[in-house]
């Protein structure tokens, strides 16, 4: 079954329409810049100084008050949206695999952004950047982007967000929205990577994906647990008490991510893979619309 079938594309179109109607200009749509310039939306007046373009003189004001005032307009610029997609082996876990879910979410976000004339780039990472879809613009570019996503495969390396973020921010590119789609099971911690993005004036948004079996594992007895990323094993005897401990630790991890995001003004969306991806996008839209 293809990852992006016609049904998926229909949902993308629907999400694109809904996004304009519901929260135009909030998350991914056009952003007004503080820069005044050649836009079409009036901002204010200022006094004419020699050298100014006569085309922006407000002749009506001159006719009524005999003052030369220059009309100023708010200049619009397109938003750069960077989608950092976790392609580590841990994302392969789950039913459906978290990686498939993450790619669908990334495709949806990219489609909405492209439909709103924003620029979109996708960076797949694990221990380092494993694949890169350069910034692109225009709705017509969605198909190559989908092909890129479909061709992605999980990498062997363990997740290292800080390393990836360090490399990402030093690229010669405009700042913009950095949507990180990952499970954030980073042995080095997720905070460092997000800090790097923030400190370099990117606007990070976190989408954390987990599988219900990760939140509530049904494992009991003598087991050898194998880490799918590192391949490391651990022989354990899992009891009901251990399961309760596990659930507590997992909840603490989830809470720590949420707390980090709220403390630093970072958008945060957490979801399990049993939530349909379009429902997740709509939820994100509602949250964003409510915020603005």
């Amino acid at each position: 079954m293809p990852l992006f079938d016609s049904e998926f594309l229909k949902k993308l179109e629907y999400l694109s329409i809904v996004s304009r109607r519901v929260f135009r200009g909030s998350l991914l749509a056009q952003r007004r810049t503080t820069q005044l310039g050649g836009g079409i939306e009036f901002a204010d007046h200022r006094e004419y100084t020699p050298g100014d373009d006569f085309r922006y003189l407000d002749w009506n004001v001159y006719a009524r008050f005999d003052e030369l005032l220059l009309k100023r307009f708010q200049e619009e610029e397109d938003l750069h949206v960077y989608i950092l997609l976790d392609a580590s082996r841990s994302m392969e876990f789950g039913d459906p695999p978290k990686f498939d879910y993450a790619r669908r979410v990334a495709a949806a976000l990219a489609y909405i952004a492209l439909a709103d004339l924003d620029r979109v780039g996708v960076v797949a990472f694990a221990g380092d950047v494993v694949a890169d879809f350069p910034l692109t613009r225009g709705k017509a570019r969605i198909l190559p982007l989908l092909k890129f996503l479909e061709a992605l495969a999980p990498d062997r390396d363990a997740t290292d967000l800080s390393r990836v973020a360090a490399g990402f921010v030093h690229r010669n590119q405009r700042r913009g929205l950095a949507v990180v789609v990952s499970d954030f099971y980073d042995p080095g911690g997720f905070e460092r990577g997000l800090d790097i993005l923030r400190h370099h004036r990117y606007e990070p948004h976190v989408i954390q994906i987990h599988d219900k079996r990760e939140a509530d594992p049904r494992l009991l007895g003598d087991l050898e647990l194998i880490d799918v990323e590192s391949g490391a094993g651990q022989k354990v005897t899992v009891t009901e008490k251990n399961l309760r401990q596990y659930r507590r630790i997992f909840d603490q991890f989830q809470e720590s991510l949420k707390h980090y995001c709220s403390a630093n003004g970072v958008g945060c969306t957490r979801t399990a893979t049993d939530v349909p991806f379009d429902e997740l996008i709509l939820r994100m839209m509602r949250v964003a619309g409510a915020l603005q």
């Binding site: 594992p217 050898e224 009901e240 008490k241 401990q245 596990y246």
Partner: protein, 631 residues
């Protein structure tokens, strides 16, 4: 400690595979997880307890080996020597007499006695043995000497209250015969203490008594209730009733009597503590039936508040009197309301009545007619006798006082100037039963039981002498009518529970005795007298024919086929026992005695405890496994 089955220890070899399986490493199931970060946090926290991690599997091995050891040891059936030496023998006497129905102890005395019995059975050791004897009506062994607890408990559960008298003394004697010669024997008596032998039992060394009663119960009961037909009045009857107040305070109540559910008398009573009220009622009825007396009083024992008696029915009987003329003779039959009299001058003029009595005065035919015959002063010979010269002034020297024909009749003081001398013919003499005879041995009053019908002969000349003027004459004629109609005796006694009654069947065929609760028990099928009882329930008992296939209408010869449910004989049985009515224990101090529960540890053998321990170990292992404390 010894082992009854030491060969079972060979099962210990099963420990080898258990240890082998323990030593063999079991490959762990590999489970991929998206990250091991969280699991490491858990198990790194538990690192200081790593010794326990190692020991917990050893604990599993130890639990399994202990489980096996207990099972093997149980199979070897260990026992202690003292179990054999100190094994005890018990006889448990359970009083299920009528007084144990009393409800002064909730729910009843018998229920409490049975609870106590169950506790005693539960307290038996494994090798203790017990027999259970019921002591109501008559001693009955309910369960032989056994150590099988279930059989003993079933015997206790099967005890139901009787209406019979207490027979604890006899039951104790029976118990002594059963276990008296054995070592470590004890007789445990569970009773309500309502019998006179209690004090002696309390002093007996081999008897332990436990009472189920309250010190001062209140009860009033009918202790006597009998009915009989009047000796003088053919339709009259008399009722004897007695009520006993077996309580420590005076009682006011009503005594009601009814015949076939029709009230015939109600008497208000007020009886002092320990007092007795007694009265004879005189009533009339030709119908007869079921007399019932009730005490309208709510007390601890209900069974003695009701008593019943059977009043025999009086049948009107056709009598044909063939006489040349005798006023006394006519009047003595005419005065009897149960007689339908026809008087004729000669036998051939008399109407033929089926089954009726023919009274022949003086002249008799040469061959006596079939059927019942009462011949008075025969003057002619017949096929049974020849007539001799008259006997002048006969004096009655001998009369059969045991005969029902002679009941309440005395002829020795009657003036009889003349009587007929009869010489019985061969064949008749053997069948004749002399009821009264003269000094010379001449028969004056005799009966002959011939196949064609009974014959009763009175040789006295009624025209001379004062016999017709004496009270003996109507009594004699009434006795004769009763004898001919087979209504033997005027008294149908109501026996007390525990009594027996002898009864002779009048017809052949299989018979059953039906108890008041509807249960039947078969009776011997012969002509000999049958002993009915001892009755253990109060109420109406009846002897009935077992229905046979070849049923003929009533009136046919008995034994060729009878209808179901037609009682052959009915008898009313009452408690009528002052000892049972008096619910007060004869020794109140005995109520304070402790329960005689034998010391034991649940009556379980050692192997049973071991099996229990094995199950506990299995449950412990299962619990540990489920909790993942061991694997």
């Amino acid at each position: 400690m010894s082992l009854a089955n030491p060969a079972a220890l060979a099962w210990s070899a099963l420990a080898a595979p258990i240890v082998v399986f323990y030593i063999l490493k079991i490959r762990l199931r590999r489970v991929p997880v998206s990250t091991i970060l969280f699991w490491r946090q858990i198990f790194e926290e538990k690192q200081p307890r790593s010794i326990w991690q190692t020991l917990r599997h050893l604990l599993s091995l130890l639990v399994q080996l202990t489980f096996l050891a207990t099972l093997v040891f149980a199979l070897a059936e260990p026992y202690f020597h003292w179990e054999i030496v100190e094994a005890r023998k018990f006889a448990l006497v359970i009083d299920d007499s009528a007084s144990t129905r009393a409800t002064d102890v909730a729910p009843s005395r018998l229920a409490k006695i049975k609870d106590e019995a169950r506790r005693i059975v539960d307290g038996l050791r494994f090798r203790d043995e017990m027999t259970i004897i019921a002591a109501g009506t008559q001693p009955r062994v309910l369960c032989g000497l056994t150590n099988h607890h279930r059989a003993l408990l079933e015997a206790v559960d099967g005890v139901s209250a009787t209406d019979g008298p207490t027979s604890v003394d006899a039951a104790v004697e029976l118990a002594r015969k059963l276990i008296g010669g054995q070592k470590n024997h004890t007789i445990l008596v569970l009773t309500d203490g309502g019998f006179d032998g209690l004090s002696a039992l309390l002093k007996a060394a081999d008897v332990e008594v436990r009472l189920a009663a309250t010190p001062h119960p209140s009860n009033v009961g009918i202790t006597r209730f009998q009915a009989r037909r009047s000796l003088l009045d053919p339709v009259g009857y008399e009722i004897l009733a007695e009520v006993f107040n077996a309580s420590d305070e005076s009682v006011a109540c009503r005594f009601e009597v009814d015949l076939n559910d029709n009230p015939i008398d109600v008497v208000p009573l007020k009886i002092e503590p320990g007092g007795t009220w007694r009265q004879v009622f005189e009533k009339t009825s030709t119908e007869g039936g079921r007399l019932a007396a009730r005490l309208d009083h709510d007390d601890a024992l209900a069974v003695d508040n009701l008593a019943e008696a059977i009043l025999p029915r009086r049948e009107v009987r056709p009598v044909t009197l063939v006489t040349p003329g005798n006023l006394f003779l006519e009047k003595v039959f005419e005065a009897n309301p149960l007689v339908k009299l026809v008087v004729a001058k000669a036998l051939d003029q008399a109407p033929r009545t089926s089954g009726g009595l023919i009274v022949l005065h003086r002249e008799v035919p040469a061959k006596l007619p079939p059927g019942p015959l009462f011949v008075i002063e025969p003057t002619t010979a017949c096929d049974l006798w020849d007539v001799g010269p008259p006997i002048q002034n006969p004096v009655v020297a001998k009369q059969d006082r045991d005969s029902e024909l002679m009941a309440h009749v005395r002829l020795d003081n009657v003036l009889m100037p003349e009587a007929r001398r009869l010489v019985l013919k061969v064949g008749a003499a053997e069948k004749a039963k002399i009821l009264a005879s003269s000094i010379e041995g001449e028969p004056l009053f005799f009966s002959v039981d011939r196949p064609e019908g009974k014959v009763l002969v009175l040789t006295v000349n009624l025209d001379k002498g004062d016999l017709p003027l004496q009270t003996a004459f109507p009594i004699l004629s009434a006795n004769a009518l009763g004898w001919f109609s087979n209504s033997r005796g005027e008294l149908r006694p109501s026996p007390s529970t525990g009594d027996v009654v002898s009864w002779t069947p009048t017809a052949r065929g299989p018979l059953v005795l039906r108890a008041p609760d509807g249960k039947t028990r078969p009776l011997p099928n012969d002509d000999k007298p049958i002993t009915l009882g001892p009755f253990d329930l109060s109420g109406v008992w009846s002897v009935e024919h077992v229905p046979t296939a070849n049923v003929k209408p009533s009136g046919t010869d008995a034994g060729k086929g009878v209808e179901a449910g037609a009682p052959e004989f009915v008898i009313a049985c009452n408690l009528a026992n002052r000892d049972e009515t008096d619910l007060r224990p004869r020794d109140v101090e005995a109520l304070k005695r402790p329960s005689p529960i034998p010391a034991g540890f649940g009556g379980r053998p050692v192997w049973y405890i071991l099996i229990l321990l094995a199950w506990l170990l299995a449950a412990f292992e299962w619990f540990l496994y489920q909790r993942r404390w061991i694997s």
